[in-house]
Amino acid sequence: MDTKTEVLVIGGGSTGCGIARDLAMRGVAVTLVERGTLTDGTTGRMHGLLHSGGRYAVSDRESAAECISENRILREIASHCVEPTGGLFVSKPGDSEEYFERKLAGCSACDIPTELLSAEQARAIEPYLAHDIERAIRVPDAAIDPFRLCVANAAAAREHGARIETHAEVTDLLLDGDRVVGVEITHSNDNGMTGSTERIKATHVVNATGAWAGQIGAMAGVDIAVRPSKGAMTVMNCRQVDTVINRCRPKGDADIIVPHETACILGTTDVEVDDPDAFPETQWEVETMIETLSELVPILDEARTLRSFWGVRPLYEPPETKTSDPTDITRQFFLLDHADRDGLAGMTSIVGGKLTTYRLMAERISDHVCDRIGVDGVCRTADVALPGSENPMHLQEAMESFELRSPIARRSVQRLGSRSSSVLSTSDPNPVICSCEAVTRAELEDAITEVGTDLNAVRIRTRASMGNCQGCFCAHRMAALLHPDHTVETVRTSLEALYEERWRGQRHALWGEQLSQAMLTRYLHATTMNRAQSQTESSPTVAFERFDGGDERGD
């Protein structure tokens, strides 16, 4: 199958979706392709910090200034994705006082508002900070939901006519001499195109695949020396802090705690890896984080851990720089114009950067692409609210209109923003399907309408199965919603994929309470759904229907 578009964006992370939205709003015909679900790469595997810029105020003031400016913009245009938690840089005995002063000075130089707090003041805000902390700097850090942000960007792009194609892996770049003229993709989604390939001709291709940019470059014989660096993050069951807590020292592993929805996320480590798709996820990383961050917040040491996950930073530096330690590689982003750089026209790559500045990156790339394809368009992404952030709904109103219990109404409205009414207004009963995260059937059905049978895509839109039981009590209920629109086979496959994803992260948290939880999950599923053995090993001839009517005795 052959199709055409003006600009083809590869990569459904925050950068790719941001570019798709920006270009679509300028009237450019855009197609975005993503090999998995949106956010599958680095975007969905980060700690959810909306930087104030404080973190870079000493080492990289340019990044710091970009962060604070984007931070202010995202609070406006993506209010339903942002929780304005505020952040603290906390120093402990032995942490450099000189660095603390430089942090203050750097923030002030970058227009990042700060407030100097005594240990008592900091502990009044966050009672679980260690007793021996010395002082703290308050900055406007915030928590951001990368899934919601990314999905909202994709939705906005689609509203402006873009085509968003997930489960569509680029298997080749189409070349015409020394010019990229499109891509070949292979579909793996459930809309009947699975296994089929499609050639999409494009005037310009944007490679927004981050840590995977080198693999795309290689398809056209250009070298993009991304230096992927893995970082581990650990999810706690509940919030030990309600403010972003940073350790105020130059650099190092395990120096940040981000409150995120019902949980806290501990981060992180920084180790260069060869292959962004295959690298070791090691226990020492998790242990280091819990141990080191317990110095700041001692109760972390005995608190329940739900899971850990690893993300891959798309770090890049010009090849001649040759920095040895990945923590020293710049967090700046780079626009690689392959026509100038490699003599290959028709393609631009974007590497480096971070989620907080995704919109700015998208703006720069879109400016560049418009220039290349001869489109006059002005960027409007900083001024127009994302879908969901247009008119925040009042909680009281929501509780009354949707007849939901107060914490469920509150959480639903926080997730759905201005879409609350259209999603939650239903004349049907609307039971809670995921009770850990307070997700109702109406919200799940809305997500299913949006993404089809990919339950992991449903999960990132709704948070269903992301709470303390990690899908033990809701994964099958989510899957059941796919029936009868989809076949039993499809429902099973979707459920299997969701389970696998949930187990993947829990493997790194199998001690204490989460081990008990995992055993309960295992036994409940074994005894109620025959999941003690692999489905393929079990007899394919089990006549489940025999048990339905009760008019026949069992086998």
């Binding site: 009672p127 509940c238 005995e302 909680l395 914490p407 509150r410 959480r411």
Partner: protein, 457 residues
């Protein structure tokens, strides 16, 4: 009991200045298994009640620090505390419920927040706060009245005969139901013409002194105002074993206040109780209660909810009366030579007794006594749960929960009931018409020969 007490770094006292509880470990400990929901008597009859798992760990985890709205359904919980006993993971469910209920009731105080809204120019919000506040007002007044039975009892006992006539007078009951939502289906318990404390003063207090065997009796409201016979039986039995009985200054244990979210009232009463009981403990006494909900409050809810000097010591040194005797005296030997009066009892173990591990004690003790037949009517909840069954909108649920117990009582051989809990006794009597005896009364009857002489007291 909650894990929080074992972990110094979780100590809520050093962290929060207020009585705000930290229940992080409770949330961490919940595996969502729903065993608590499966034993909740309210959830089994009231489909609008989401059950203890939601009320406790789930709601706690979903509520952010700045959120104030606790779901209305928290007031559907009867505080029977069966979920505490059911949880395989020691989630402090009742502590979470008590805390949430306290926050909910605190949030019902609408005048201050309405004024704040009006001052900041938010007229519509202010009006809506007032509207909601007023619609909750009747429930709040009714609940506060029920929760403060101590105060009602104190006044009623000044003129018990008038009070008895007035409270069960038809038009009064009609009005109470219409205006306050207190069910007219039940008869109010009658007030004794002489309270236990009046009797105690009249008899000149303790009849013997014994620095080695000393108990401080926490009679609670009911044995004082309504069933002084239970208190007198307690005194006679303990004195027969050579105990010096102290009757310290005391107010309500707080049980009905916890169940109605009146943590502020409960704390005020607890201050008096803890002070005088801690003093008695310092004098070498252990604390004894004849009501299993009172002993539950002193043992579990006090240290879970309040931070008062001596509160842990009170919790650790409190016992139910029969439990104490079984631990410290050879009751079997004392009863071996005795015989009952050919009586048959249908025994119901109160939920709060069950949580203290006391659900079998009466049956075990009396089944070996000649002439006494005692039959356990099973592990169901009686359904009244203190003030719960008195609320007009809960009455039907209360009776539906009680149905199992009523049926088992009817099926048992005995035509009279036995239980430790005064409100379970009300419910048993209300559902079957049986008269209900407290185990201490039977024990006193069997152990002490000169019944006729002392029962006049």
């Amino acid at each position: 009991m909650s894990d929080t007490e074992d972990t110094p770094s979780f100590d809520p006292v050093t962290v929060f200045e207020s009585t705000e509880q930290d229940l992080r470990s409770g949330s961490d400990d919940c595996y969502k298994c729903s065993t608590c929901d499966s034993v909740c008597p309210v959830a089994s009859v009231d489909s609008s009640f989401p059950g203890p798992k939601f009320q406790g760990p789930e709601q706690w985890r979903l509520t952010r620090k700045e959120d104030t709205e606790i779901d209305d359904s928290i007031m559907g919980c009867s505080n029977c505390m069966r979920c505490d006993g059911a949880c395989p993971s020691s989630v402090p469910l009742s502590q979470m419920h008590n805390t949430a209920r306290g926050a909910y009731v605190e949030n019902q105080r609408f005048v201050r927040s309405a004024l704040a809204a009006l001052r900041s120019g938010e007229l519509r919000r202010g009006a809506s706060i007032v509207r909601d506040g007023v619609s909750d007002l009747r429930e709040r007044i009714r609940n506060r009245l029920l929760a403060n039975y101590y105060t009602a009892g104190r006044f009623a006992s000044k003129l018990p005969r008038v009070a008895n006539a007035f409270t069960n007078f038809g038009p009064t009951r009609w009005l109470l139901e219409r205006v306050l939502g207190i069910t007219s289906e039940r008869s109010f318990p009658s007030f004794a013409t002489q309270t236990f404390r009046e009797w105690w003063t009249e008899r000149g207090g303790a009849q013997l002194e014994n620095p080695d065997k000393r108990v401080a009796y926490f009679h609670g409201c009911y044995a004082n105002y309504n069933t002084p016979a239970v208190g007198k039986a307690m005194v006679r039995v303990f004195e027969s074993f050579g105990y010096e009985v102290l009757v310290p200054q005391q107010r309500c244990s707080g049980t009905p206040m916890f169940a109605n979210g009146r943590l502020d009232d409960a704390k005020r009463h607890a201050e008096t109780n803890v002070e005088s009981l801690a003093e008695a403990i310092a004098d070498g006494a252990d604390v004894i209660a004849s009501c299993t909900s009172c002993s539950m409050a002193l043992r579990q809810e006090y240290p879970e909810l309040f931070d008062l000097d001596g509160i842990d010591s009170v919790g650790e040194n409190t016992y139910e009366a029969l439990e104490y005797l079984r631990l410290n005296e050879d009751l079997e030997a004392a009863l071996a030579e005795t015989a009952g009066d050919a009586e048959e009892f249908a025994y119901h173990a109160p939920c709060h007794a069950r949580n203290q591990g006391l659900d079998r004690q009466a049956v075990e003790l009396f089944s070996d006594v000649d002439g006494v037949t005692i039959e356990d009517v099973g592990d169901s909840c009686s359904g009244i749960s203190g003030t719960y069954g008195w609320k007009a909108e809960k009455y039907d649920y209360s009776m539906a929960i009680g149905d199992t117990m009523f049926a088992e009582m009817e099926a048992a051989a005995g035509e009279q009931g036995m239980t430790e809990c005064p409100t379970c006794a009300m419910q048993m009597s209300h559902g079957t018409g049986y008269s209900i005896t407290h185990p201490l009364e039977l024990l006193a009857d069997i152990l002490i020969e000169e019944q006729s002489a002392s029962s006049n007291g």
